[in-house]
């Protein structure tokens, strides 16, 4: 009894035999365990006895890797990856630029905003992905319709947060500067713009994830290129290896994206402090 109490009060890493400590409490140990777990699952998947129809639905790791390898060799992987990246980044940049610019205009001339506010909030509330079929009618199944959809999604996110920022500028700071004799444009440059910046960046940060999700959804609905299209196409042709392979690519893609964003935010955040 007393022994177990003593054990639970001592620190965690002193618990258990040495090999277990090494596996659970060192970085290398944890990585080993993780990889071993995945390897076990893959091995089971590969060696599990399956008849032909089961094989067709479930595929197996070797077939998936073979498919992936084919895509790399014939260049189609880069083609689709590039299409997704293009749609996402182009839509994102357009949406951010227009959203921030229009948001600032609305913030500085509240008159316009007061008139348009109900329409803006109606559009803001609408799940933009519902417009994908419309854009496909208008702009075709190519890259253009996806860029438009992503840009629209990003636009409303950045617009809203920019307006919020511009409206939250401390009116006392503005008054103080007016009394010092500043002109209207000086107030914009010295107070309104820098005060709105953090809000614009917040909107942009949130918008990255939305841009990614909506790019993929749009490609799933109807497209002729992109990772979403790859999943959709392989599924429609009952090529389960292809579906798994494209999901694998997608996982790598989103992990990389998230990692880059996290580092970027940390870097910018540290600089802001």
């Amino acid at each position: 009894m007393t022994a177990s109490i003593r054990a639970s009060t001592t620190s965690r890493s002193e618990n258990g035999p040495r090999w277990r400590q090494k596996l659970l409490f060192t970085r290398a140990g944890r990585t080993t365990v993780r990889l071993a777990a995945v390897a076990a699952i893959l091995l089971f998947w590969q060696l599990m006895p399956m008849d032909r129809s089961a094989k067709m639905w479930a595929s197996d790791p070797a077939a998936i890797v073979a498919t992936l390898w084919d895509w790399i060799l014939d260049g189609s992987l880069w083609h689709h990856l590039g299409a997704t990246l293009l749609v996402m980044s182009l839509g994102y940049v357009i949406g951010c630029a227009v959203g921030a610019a229009l948001g600032l205009v609305f913030g500085f001339f509240p008159f316009f905003y007061r008139i348009l506010a109900p329409y803006i909030s109606a559009f803001y509330a609408l799940p933009k992905i519902a417009l994908a079929p419309l854009f496909i009618i208008l702009l075709g199944v190519g890259v253009e319709s996806k860029v438009a959809l992503v840009a629209l999604t990003v636009f409303f996110l950045v617009l809203n947060s920019t307006i919020e920022g511009a409206r939250n500028v401390d009116p006392d700071s503005v008054e103080g500067l007016i009394l010092m004799g500043s002109t209207r444009s000086e107030i914009v440059a010295k107070v309104l713009l820098p005060a709105s910046m953090p809000w614009i960046f917040t909107g942009m940060r949130i918008a990255v994830r939305y841009a990614f999700t909506n790019t993929l959804l749009a490609e799933l609905i109807a497209a002729n290129s992109g990772l979403g299209y790859l999943i959709q196409y392989n599924s429609a042709t009952f090529d389960s290896s292809g579906v798994y392979a494209s999901i694998l690519v997608l996982v790598v893609f989103s992990v990389t994206l998230t990692e880059i964003l996290t580092r970027l935010e940390k870097h910018l955040g540290a600089r802001h402090e």
């Binding site: 700071s173 008054e175 103080g176 007016i178 010092m180 004799g181 002109t183």
Partner: protein, 281 residues
């Protein structure tokens, strides 16, 4: 006019012409606010004249309309009735002859101490002063005791330091008239005296007209040519007292003189009733 001692003194040292027209004149100025549909009488019609280069302190309990008066002189608020004149002209828009140090410091959080202080010299209307900006900023930072904090952001400064940044920012561009709303409330007693001393010296050498709001009676008597005691709810002037203490005043010792004590006692009697009244609301 006994309060002219300071003005005479200034005239002697600076040959500053003294006009008889007041710098600021409030005639029958009243202000009502509408709060949740209810009309609140913030300021009953008052009359007040402030001569050029005069230092006037407004003292009174909170809610007596002192800050409202500053806002109206600054042109940020319109009186409900009556007229606010500056240089004999009605104040109808933000008054650019004044430097206004509000109760809340309005420092820009993305600018360092030096950048916040120097903002007035970046404006087009002072383009010709830009050359000496660096020296003047350094000088004023030294004056308010913020040396070593030039590159700190407001979030890295204490409340008292932020107040001093705001003060330096207002003094830097040498406005003709200073409006100050409890500028030293957040400072500790010793530092406050140092600041009072600097303020007295600066406003005298620069011939500034000052309208100074405070709840500290001692501070008011130490600095002012005239002290205006306000009563609260609704705001009105209870009494105006001319402070005849000779200038320049020693802010560190003047409060221990007999003359000071007498004035303090008289004014405290006036103020006491108002403060008591205010506290049970």
């Amino acid at each position: 006019m006994p309060s002219n001692t300071r003005n005479n003194l200034l005239r002697a040292v600076s040959k500053q012409p003294l006009e008889d027209t007041p710098k600021i004149r409030l005639t029958e100025v009243a202000k009502n606010f509408s709060v949740r549909g209810q009309d609140i009488e913030a300021l009953r019609p008052i009359n007040l004249e402030i001569r050029p280069c005069e230092f006037v302190a407004l003292v009174g309990p909170s809610g007596c309309g002192k800050s409202t008066i500053l806002n109206m002189v600054a042109g940020l608020m319109k009186p409900s009735s009556g007229a606010v004149l500056y240089d004999n002209k009605a104040v109808t828009e933000p008054n650019r002859n004044i430097g206004y140090m509000t109760q809340k410091d309005t420092l820009l959080p993305w600018r360092t101490t030096a950048q916040n202080i120097g903002i007035s010299l970046e404006l087009k209307c002072r383009a010709n002063e830009r050359g000496q900006a660096r020296d003047r900023i350094a000088q004023i930072i030294e004056l308010v005791g913020l040396k070593g904090f030039e590159h700190h952001y407001p979030s890295e400064l204490s409340g008292g330091m932020r107040k001093r940044v705001a003060l330096a920012r207002t003094l830097l561009y040498q406005p003709e008239t200073l409006l100050m709303d409890e500028p030293f409330g957040a400072l500790d007693a010793q530092l406050k005296l140092v600041m009072l001393d600097q303020l007295q010296r600066l406003t005298a050498t620069r011939h500034m007209t000052v309208l100074f709001v405070t709840h500290d009676l001692g501070e008011a008597i130490t600095l002012a040519d005239r002290v205006v005691v306000f009563g609260a709810r609704p705001g009105r002037i209870r009494t105006v007292r001319t402070i005849n203490l000779p200038r320049p005043r020693d802010v560190f010792k003047i409060r221990f003189t007999e003359a000071f004590a007498r004035i303090h006692e008289d004014l405290w009697d006036e103020l006491k009733d108002e403060v008591m009244q205010g506290s049970d609301v």
